[in-house]
């Protein structure tokens, strides 16, 4: 019974993916064991897994994980909320949108890390600078998504709101925000990804706590397996957060309608 089910699930594409992963692993392990590549740069996968196990078993790791998660949560809250407000203002008021939205478009692709020295001067070198860089990184995708989303709200809904004589606050709460739920979730997804990068880059640059600090500390001690292990955890966290928000977007009322 099990075998046919397995065969049905093992599509050629999946088989190709598994074969590729095995080939990559064999290549990696071959390079690590052959001595042709410096073992410090390409450690054996067993060493990386051992380092990952040791790291997950240590209490210090969870303290650093908590610091990073806290910084990212604060960055998303600040950057996402301010981006939402800016996006709503620029989207609803066409005049202001035409006046200031081009500047948002221009600044969005600027590498935000170059603002880190300025941020450190303004808020210090502590957790605040990590949160500020994360918030700055997370602001633009939310603001731009919402500003574009507002202009795509079904005009019939807006006319219905006006025919019921809804005030600005009621229009916002009863028409705009419900209609924008999927847009806000998409913006939040992008915002989270960039805020995570912002916080971790700031930690990698200068910090005494967090996963970025842990990776940099391992790198400075030339403990490369632990560096790989920390980066594996960071990528797993990013993928998990992305998957959760993706599922949330899919389950939102408008997402269900689109399906």
């Amino acid at each position: 019974m099990v075998a046919p089910r397995l065969t049905r699930r093992l599509t050629p594409a999946l088989a190709l993916q598994i074969a590729t992963l095995l080939c990559l692993w064999a290549l990696w392990e071959g390079a690590a064991q052959s001595g042709l590549v410096w073992r410090g740069a390409v450690p054996s996968s067993v060493a990386v897994l051992r380092a990952l196990g040791a790291m997950l078993a240590s209490r210090a790791f969870y303290r650093d994980l908590g610091v990073t998660l806290g910084e990212v949560a604060a960055a998303v809250a600040i950057g996402g909320a301010s981006g939402l407000v800016a996006g709503l203002v620029l989207g609803i008021n066409r005049f202001l949108g035409r006046a200031f939205e081009p500047y948002l478009h221009y600044l969005a692709p600027t590498p935000k890390i170059v603002f880190l020295p300025v941020i450190m001067l303004l808020v210090g070198v502590g957790a605040g600078s990590k949160v500020a860089l994360g918030a700055l990184s997370g602001f633009f995708p939310m603001a731009l998504s919402v500003a574009v989303g507002v202009r795509e709200v079904n005009p019939v809904l807006l006319r219905v709101g006006r025919s019921f004589n809804l005030g600005p606050a009621q229009m916002l709460g009863k028409i705009y925000l419900p209609a924008l739920t999927p847009t806000i979730i998409v913006g939040l997804r992008l915002s989270l990804g960039l805020a995570l990068v912002g916080c971790l880059l700031a930690e990698l640059n200068l910090s005494n706590a967090g996963l970025g600090f842990l990776a940099m500390q391992a790198y400075n001690q030339l403990d490369i397996p632990t560096t790989y292990a920390v980066l594996l955890v960071i990528f797993a966290l990013a993928a998990l957060a992305n998957a959760v928000l993706g599922r949330l977007a899919h389950r939102s009322p408008a997402g269900r309608v689109r399906r």
Partner: protein, 248 residues
């Protein structure tokens, strides 16, 4: 007229923000050691050009960015073609390429440092990794979107698969591939400047890091302004190039 009015409002808004900043520093409400006033920053521009060699730094950053995009195009366009050509490869690997495009790749720089050392190799490699996924995905999208009528014309003229690709598919997909190259260029620039800053090596990013370490704040702010202007310039130029390609 309304468009001119809104643009003028935008420019006046920026000018007002700069005037408020100047006023706060002049009034003693904001320390010049935290944020030097705009007038001092503008006055430091000649020193940025003459003493700090900002033009050479710009050239180095551009060189690394274009090298990264060229390498990404050399690998990404054939990869995109392969994903278009082989349905099995697309099913197996397209989601991987998309996942790499969305992953926080810049965080891998300590590993690239281990492999390539503190050199331009690390910077170019990071830029290449960042630019490759959008180029590959957009190449596939462009080739997938070739109009059936055009392919039928090619077949009726008995073109070989190679001629079909060069004379029909590639020109038809050029605007979308151009969009991929544009995204790749922007992603590469972000990564190149970021890594230069983090490893304090190379062009503009390293210049900002060095000026920050020397606490030469007005010049550092001017250098940051330079990075912002270059990003905006890249964005606008590539946008116009893409529009021109689409019209063509």
């Amino acid at each position: 007229m309304q468009r001119f009015g809104s643009r003028l409002t935008g420019a006046l808004g920026i000018a007002l923000a700069l005037a408020i900043w100047q006023g706060l520093v002049d009034g003693g409400l904001l320390s010049p050691f935290a944020a030097p006033p705009p007038s001092t920053i503008v006055a430091s521009v000649p020193s940025l050009i003459v003493e700090e060699g900002v033009l050479a730094a710009c050239l180095q950053t551009f060189g690394e960015t274009f090298a990264a995009v060229a390498l990404a195009a050399v690998a990404g366009i054939p990869l995109g073609w392969w994903l278009h050509h082989s349905r099995r490869a697309a099913l197996a690997y397209e989601s991987w390429v998309a996942a790499i495009a969305a992953a926080p790749l810049v965080l891998l720089y300590p590993l690239f440092l281990v492999m390539f050392g503190r050199s331009a190799g690390t910077i170019v490699a990071m830029g290449t990794v960042a630019a490759l996924p959008p180029i590959a995905l957009k190449t596939k999208e462009g080739l997938d979107g070739t109009r059936r009528a055009l392919l039928d014309v090619g077949r009726s003229l008995r073109l070989t698969p190679r001629q079909q690709f060069i004379k029909i598919m590639l020109p038809a997909a050029a605007p979308v591939i151009g969009n991929g190259l544009r995204l790749g260029l922007i992603f590469a620039l972000i990564n190149v400047v970021g890594i230069e800053f983090l490893i304090n090596f190379g062009g503009l990013g390293a210049l900002i890091a060095t000026l920050g370490e020397r606490f030469e704040l007005p010049t550092m702010f001017a250098a940051i302004g330079c990075v912002v202007l270059i990003s905006v310039g890249f964005f606008v130029l590539t946008e116009r190039l893409e529009r021109w390609l689409r019209r063509g």
